[in-house]
């Protein structure tokens, strides 16, 4: 039995599982996230959210493979990889899906702690930059139609909270659960936006999904976690506040923030903007990915960390030029 104060209800495991499935179906439908025939790549970490979204998508009948990136964060990475592989063997492969793996140390010659020091970034910044680049590239190179991430309601509310605190209007205009494919970037969607992280954790437990509970040792004290704690203080006094905050923003406010050219290699609110000339894209001299500078932020990170350069530029089409043009999906372009 799980209690959900924001719905003023207790759920038995069977109905809670159905509730989670319904919330994901509704998110997919409301935001036109994926089509039934789409090939999906799920960014998998071994934690509750990524395993829950992979399981839910497979349960809904989607063709969804997983991609796990070994980050080289000591025992934490070894353990998280184990959870991802066990889920793949027990829950994904029987349903026809596979787990793809990339290892930063083996494949690129650096790890997150070393990369962060060399690039003078926070570990979370170096990690986010690396994962975004590699997930994007894997989705495009693998011919996937859409990249799914396990961002949940708490993640989105916390990012929104941080962006509002600083009135980062460029990020606010881009904070949507769907980022359309464009300029050499894959379509990205977040099917868990209607579920809190307490709910995704509960989904894993009632579904028999073993996930990594321990937090990344490098994330302690980051401001994103502080925003979540602050929002939970409000939520416990006024259940439903996080959902109201985020979904009211999407309904009433996001369109008011005119999309502005922002740095690429970034997600809204993550502070990884590459701002040399944020409106003009060109192929990275090293890897071919779209960037606003001579070399993309990922390749600069690899170079500073003393790692191995990525392979030669991929032979995939990259539409170059100034961003902000018409969005084929009809969604305002961030």
């Amino acid at each position: 039995m799980i209690d959900l104060p924001r719905h003023n209800a207790n759920f038995c495991p069977e109905h809670f599982t159905r509730f989670c499935r319904d919330q994901v179906e509704r998110a997919i439908s409301d935001f036109d996230m994926v089509q039934p025939e789409d090939r999906i790549l799920v960014a998998v970490s071994g934690g509750k959210d990524s395993l829950a979204v992979w399981d839910l998508l497979l349960g809904l009948g989607y063709a969804a493979d997983g991609l796990y990136i070994g980050l080289g964060i000591g025992d934490y990475s070894d353990t998280s990889g184990g959870y991802a592989r066990r889920f793949a063997q027990q829950h994904a492969e029987p349903r026809g899906a596979k787990l793809i793996e990339i290892d930063l140390v083996d494949d690129y010659g650096y790890d997150i702690p070393g990369g962060a020091r060399a690039a003078r970034r926070t570990p979370c910044s170096a990690c986010g930059l690396s994962k975004r680049h590699l997930f994007d590239r894997a989705a495009l190179d693998g011919g996937y139609d859409v990249l799914v991430t396990g961002h949940n309601l708490d993640d989105e509310a916390a990012v929104l909270f941080g962006n509002v605190l600083r009135w980062q209007t460029d990020y606010l205009g881009r904070q949507r659960p769907v980022l359309p494919a464009r300029d050499g970037f894959p379509r990205k969607v977040k099917p868990l936006v209607r579920l809190s992280e307490r709910e995704t954790a509960a989904y894993c437990i009632v579904s028999g999904i073993d996930y990594l509970v321990d937090e990344c040792p490098m994330s302690a004290g980051n401001k994103h976690l502080g925003y979540k704690e602050a929002l939970n203080e409000i939520e416990v006094r006024s259940p439903g506040s996080k959902a109201d905050f985020y979904f009211s923003f999407l309904r009433r406010a996001v369109d008011r923030f005119a999309p502005e050219p922002a740095g690429i290699d970034t997600e809204p609110g993550t502070g990884d903007a590459d701002r040399a000339d944020p409106g003009v894209l060109r192929p990275c001299a090293r890897c071919g990915s779209p960037t606003s500078t001579e070399m993309c932020a990922f390749c600069r990170l690899v170079e500073r960390a003393g790692g191995s350069p990525p392979d030669a530029p991929p032979a995939r089409p990259v539409t170059l030029g100034r961003r902000g043009g018409p969005d084929p999906t009809g969604t305002p372009s961030p």
Binding site: M1, I2, D3, P5, N10, G47, K48, D49, T122, P123, C124, S125, C127, G128, D154, D155, A158, V159, S196, E197, R198, T200, A201, A202, I205, V206, V213, D214, E215, C216, M218, S219, N222, K223, H224, L225, K228, E229, N232, E233, E235, V236, E267, G269, T270, G271, D272
Partner: protein, 69 residues
């Protein structure tokens, strides 16, 4: 009145708590926000109004995660 074992995470540790006690009361005594955890007894999630008994082994599992900058 007795005691029960409560497993906490991040960092991993165990404490003894008075029982019987409601889940919601236990969380208040431990100064833990109910939104940030699930309470699990014998592998089963228990809601805030559930009564925990002496000799129960309870895990307070955090659910907050994320490393965005």
């Amino acid at each position: 009145m007795g005691t029960m074992l409560v497993r906490l995470r991040n960092p991993n540790r165990e404490v003894h708590a008075d029982a019987p006690v409601l889940v919601s009361v236990l969380l208040k005594r431990l100064d833990i926000n109910r939104e940030s955890v699930l309470v699990v007894r014998n592998g089963t999630i228990v809601p805030g109004d559930e009564r925990l008994e002496p000799d129960d082994v309870v895990e307070v599992r955090p659910v907050i995660s994320g490393g965005s900058e």
